[in-house]
Symmetry: C2
Subunit: 163 residues, 2 copies
DNA sequence: ATGTTTATGTTATACTATAACGCAGGAGCG
DNA sequence: CGCTCCTGCGTTATAGTATAACATAAACAT
């Protein structure tokens, strides 16, 4: 399994990103969806760092690669990737991050460092279950959930800087 | 305790809103903050329904009450109320909802009905603990968390309509 | 090759949020 | 009373996020 490490831990990132991209291609092929150039490049851009990027940040980089400088170019690619479970939306930041576990069923929880803006997907099965239990008591049917925590990653906690 | 019921259950809403407003005034007095006319009216507007309203929706109603038709009027009041723990921000909707348990320490979970847009604050202590546990394994320090679920409330589940 | 579907290019606009400055009114103090 | 300090509000302007709608083109199936 290519991603047993956290975004916060040092790791061979080229392999990490490459492996995830390969996994993503495989998933798309399985469901008969196409990883077109914009989509592929968009995913690569997000995979280059374990950080969340705004749609306009992504667009900026797409433009540098020759794509049109229009918001829908980025939004469409991001929306597609999100639908396919390859990208997650970080609502707290109005931003997007590549999924590190494509294909694995997961209602992910995100840990967002407010200092270095790194984003990790935490193992969140227990969180999801607790939320489901809370919803059950109110007879609410959950369809999608957003679980995000803002704080300090291990590195930035150590540095102990103020914001 | 005025709010042992859920937003999804029928209840005496006038009492519910009035009680929460009184509680809010009390909290503010305790910490030496002022519930000015805009702030009071903003809170009332949010208390009128167990739903999340966008800042511009709030503004529209404030304007109807004679306040200036400028975004900062609404945003300032909402920001103040949020800082005081009297209003919560619903990230998923870019909207705001009145807190139903002012003063009680809580990292709330929100259940948002995608059909009728009702928003309930669910008991979420267990969810928070699970999230904290997940963060601990990655040595991440949580400062603020966002827990939101989108789905169907009991009423709309019954109606079983498509979106 | 032709029709169908899917994806992209392009223009325009809607929606969300904040910066920055100036004025008004109350609070504390001589 | 007059001063000034502080808070909150009015106001203008603009920044940042997201989508609607229609035109063009590429890919796919037959």
């Amino acid at each position: 399994m290519p991603h047993d490490h956290s975004a916060f831990a040092p790791h061979d990132h080229a392999a990490c990103a490459g492996g995830t991209l390969a996994l993503a291609e495989q998933r798309l092929a399985e469901v008969g969806q196409r990883l077109t150039p914009v989509r592929r490049r968009t995913l690569q851009i997000l995979l280059e760092s374990h950080r969340a990027l705004g749609a306009y940040d992504v667009l900026e980089r797409l433009v540098a690669d020759g794509f049109a400088n229009q918001p829908p170019v980025a939004y469409r690619a991001l929306e597609f990737l999100e639908e396919q479970g390859l990208v997650h939306r970080i609502r707290r930041l109005n931003a997007f991050a590549a999924c590190m576990h494509p294909g694995e069923a997961h209602a992910p929880a995100f840990l967002i460092c407010r200092t270095c803006h790194a984003v990790a997907e935490a193992p969140a099965a227990a969180v999801g279950e607790a939320l489901q239990a809370a919803a059950d008591t109110l007879h609410f049917t959950i369809e999608r959930s957003t679980i995000e925590a803002l704080g300090l990653c291990p590195t930035c906690t150590g540095a102990a800087h103020a914001d």
